[in-house]
């Protein structure tokens, strides 16, 4: 028998196992939060993207960083879907589940398709592990998994064997187990080991024995699939025909960070980012601190209030001032947002939403801060609200938010969510020279004989952005009501009425400066599905499926939530019924009903999880069938 090389090449095997072609596959790694499941998922994501698939991912973190080992509270998961055509969601159900312990199995099994692949670390199915998961009997042995293709593998023992002789302790050896699981999964889907081997070199280069152990575990897992009789077939998912160009993977938070840096550079501003750590927004800060050579100034403030007020101070000085947080932190920023509205300074406020209220579900996704974004401030305090729909979209949305903020001298609220923030998808790398470019301008001298008028407005109702250092333009701004044009403190009744109206009209007027709402599908018909934010993928996929089946249904996904696109009201009238799926109790629906008197129907869920496509499909079917 030929001895196989460490990185077996196709065709070298004596008895290559059959390869089954798939259009798409959904795989989920799950295990203890210390099991390295996020890394396993990220590596499968990268190698699949490099193989040319379209991908969508859904990392699912436990709330506790280190819940007791083996407990259900400590289960961490990472789901990835890769496909040979364009996809918008990481999949409703899982085709292959890799579960590292009983707790991971019991919490994730409901999502596995019947007949799906179930790879288990059988070493973890001991008395203690089973008890922690609440199993009375070992599911591997009691026949309860009969509807799946079960592969119980002694991953702990086999990993220890693979790394034997490198001088590693038991704990260190067991830490390589995720590479074993990766290797096996890579074999199953015909994935190259190369990107992960490069990763190991980069990450563990300084610790040769650990690097070698991880390499061995990876190969051991791969070879297990290849050589043992346990696995009978493997799968292949061909390249997707995406638009031509150079691609990379990007997560939502990374796209936000890169969007901020590039929007600042393209508009000729310095970037100042004030923030206070909070899940799931912290990674924006982690990305930006790496970019000091771009002149990025990051400030880890003492709290969210200082984070936004520092951004306001930086904006007064002429910078692109930005801050990001999640619900609880956004609540703390509310008063300062009012200051930014009153002083009419451009500031970007990013809310990476999570489950609420209060501390809520820190690591889970939700869309329940729309009302907070719209109205969560004292007084008549309008500001533009726009929302990203996917990880890569975050990049474009930041550019658009900054365009609006600087052109209209207003704070802008940008909504993302935990699902978008941590999820990854291929991003077609833009040519930097083709990114939006428009120079921010600051007045440099007096244009009249009356002294500087900080609240004199242009045709957009925007005021001049005069910055300190400019001789002759000294002025004071603040939270007290302003006299029209002069900006002096003014308590006059009619002036207040006028200024409230002006601030409202300024924001409403942005509707003239944003694209009209587009629809996917027929421009009139029986049903229009309206969505916003991170539910884009599920809604787009569901509507497409229904359209293929001949349903009279169209999809409008809103990027602009305040103001709404100018044609939205008219568009809503062209369909018999309107469905608004949201991960909240109907916040956009309430806005749309109030604004357009449309009797929209909701599909609402707050379980910390994104919509499954089938949930939206079911609702559409129900609505189409019911009239």
């Amino acid at each position: 028998m030929a001895t196989y090389t460490r990185n077996p090449q196709e065709g070298e095997r004596l008895n290559p196992k059959p390869v089954l072609e798939l259009n798409a596959a959904t795989v989920r790694f799950c295990g203890d939060s210390g099991d390295g499941m996020q890394l396993a998922g990220t590596q499968l994501t990268n190698t699949s993207a490099l193989a040319g698939n379209d991908i969508a991912t859904f990392p699912d973190f436990p709330a506790e960083i280190r819940a007791p080992t083996g407990t259900k509270a400590g289960v961490s998961g990472f789901q990835i879907r890769f496909a040979n055509s364009e996809i918008f969601t990481p999949g409703d159900q899982v085709d292959a589940l890799i579960a590292m312990n009983p707790a991971a199995l019991v919490t994730n099994l409901p999502d596995l398709v019947s007949g799906g692949i179930l790879i288990l670390n059988s070493d973890a199915f001991n008395a203690k592990g089973l008890e922690q998961a609440g199993y009375l009997q070992n599911p591997i042995e009691d026949g309860s998994l009969i509807g799946y293709q079960v592969f119980p593998i002694e991953m702990t023992r086999l990993t220890r064997l693979a790394v034997d002789g490198l001088g590693l302790g038991v704990k260190e050896s067991d830490r390589c187990r995720n590479f074993y699981a990766m290797g096996l999964t890579f074999w199953l889907y015909g994935r190259s080991l190369e990107p992960t081997l490069r990763y190991i070199d980069e990450k563990f280069g300084k610790h040769p024995s650990i690097a070698e152990a991880n390499r061995r575990a990876l190969h051991a897992g791969y070879n297990y699939g290849d050589t043992t009789d346990a696995m009978v077939s493997r799968y292949s998912v061909q390249k997707a025909s995406l638009h031509t160009g150079l691609y990379r993977n990007i997560t939502g938070n990374q796209a936000l960070a890169w969007g901020l840096v590039s929007a600042a550079e393209r508009s000729g501003c310095e970037l100042f980012y004030g923030s206070y750590p909070i899940t799931p927004a912290s990674d924006i800060l982690h990305e930006l601190v790496k970019l000091k050579n771009f002149g990025v100034r990051t400030f880890q403030a003492e709290d969210e209030i200082a984070a936004i007020t520092s951004a306001i101070g930086a904006a007064f000085g002429g910078a692109l001032g930005a801050t990001a947080s999640s619900g609880p932190g956004i609540a703390l920023k509310a008063e300062a947002m009012g200051l930014a509205v009153m002083t009419e300074l451009p500031v970007l406020i990013i809310n990476v939403q999570r489950g609420g209220p209060s501390t809520g579900l820190p690591t889970k996704t939700e869309q329940s801060d729309l009302m907070q974004a719209m109205f969560g401030r004292n007084g008549e305090c309008p500001l533009p609200v726009i929302a990203a729909r996917s990880p890569a979209d975050c990049f474009d949305v930041v550019h658009e938010a900054w365009r609006i903020a600087a052109r209209y001298m207003t704070p802008v609220m940008l909504l993302s969510d935990g699902y978008i923030a941590n999820g990854a998808e291929p991003w077609k790398i833009p040519d930097v020279n083709s990114l939006p470019a428009w120079q921010v301008t600051h007045p440099i001298g007096l244009s009249n004989g009356h002294g500087f008028l900080p609240y004199d407005r242009d045709e957009r109702l925007s005021r001049p952005w005069a910055i300190p250092g400019t001789p002759g333009l000294m002025h004071r701004i603040g939270g007290l009501e302003k006299q029209d044009i002069t900006g002096n403190v003014c308590y006059d009744a009619d002036n207040h009425q006028h200024m409230v109206n002006v601030r409202a009209n300024k924001i409403a007027g942005i509707a003239r400066d944003i694209p009209l709402q587009e629809v996917q599908g027929p421009d009139h018909g029986r049903l229009l599905v309206v969505s916003w934010g991170g539910t884009y993928g599920a809604c787009a996929t569901a509507v497409q499926l229904m359209q293929v089946n001949g349903g009279s249904v169209a999809h409008a996904h809103l990027r602009y939530l305040n103001p709404f696109p100018a044609n939205l009201g008219e568009l809503l009238q062209r369909y018999d019924r309107v469905l608004i799926p949201e991960l909240n109790r109907g916040q956009l629906r309430m806005l749309i009903r109030a604004e357009f008197l449309v009797d929209a129907v909701g599909l609402n869920k707050v379980q910390g999880k994104p919509f499954a496509v089938r949930e939206v499909v079911q609702k559409i079917e129900e609505m189409l069938g019911s009239d």
């Binding site: 990379r248 000091k292 400030f299 300190p468």
Partner: protein, 340 residues
Amino acid sequence: MTIEPTLSVLTAKDFSSDQEIRWCPGCGDYSILAQMKKVLPTLGVPPEKTVFISGIGCSSRFPYYVNTYGIHSIHGRAPGVATGLKASRPDLSVWVITGDGDALSIGGNHLMHAIRRNIDLNIILFNNRIYGLTKGQYSPTSILGQVTKSTPMGAIDNPLHPLSVAIGCEATFVARSIDVNIKHLTMVLKRAAEHKGTSFVEVYQNCNVFNDGAFDYATGRDTKAETTLELEHGKPLIFGKNRDKGIRLNGMHPEIVSLNDGISEDDLLFHDEQADEPTLAYLLCRMRNPDFPEPIGVFRAVDAPRYDESLNNQITEARRVRGKGDLQKLFNAGETWMVE
């Protein structure tokens, strides 16, 4: 900083705004404003490079009355606004104007962190031991037993002492002055402006409407020589109408001694504002009326790294090591693939 030739002709008038001043007649804030306008033209910084940022309170109206750039922000948050501005615009001279409630109650957190970062701001706290703007509730510096609108039977919480707080936050410049002590206040404001890093100045300010006479002991013609003590670097601590009393250390404790009893100046405690350890400054700020004369002047002035400077140095350093950032390189780095 190079001084532009036109600056030599700047006067207090160049720093006066056209806004009508709305403080109560007789309020101590007027004097602080007047001294500030005297000091500003002497600093070599033109009005357009000067920014005043305040919170909310009577004192926080201050920025409207100086013809510089300014933000009258929200209650307690001026240090945050000022930090963002100074960090991104190191070329500006940034002042923070705050009250005892603004700085130590709602804004206590921000004050603490601005000071420990030693960001180059001049923070002037107008201490009137009362909430002026909201019409007379007690503040964190109101004294035990103080009867106010919200403490009819007397305040029962221990007051904060602004300088103790500042020193506890490792302040590099700590000073105190008094609204009506015009010359002294001018000197202290100028010293604060010249210090690099956070300068923290407490100014005793009379609110003649809601807490009139709170500092009479320190300002009274007959009492002030006995109740205050002017600190001078390198000089012994001497006070009294006839400058015949001093402060001597007895172990760890200060004591008042008479210079006539065979005790010479050399036996006294000498002030050292540049001492590395803040121990002396802390001891001095715990000398309080009526047991001791209250020191005024500069308690502490030491040099330490500044947040704004370090932040900008890191940018310079990152550029030196990695080169100026290139967006296209950033986007294209790492694992990428081509779709044909």
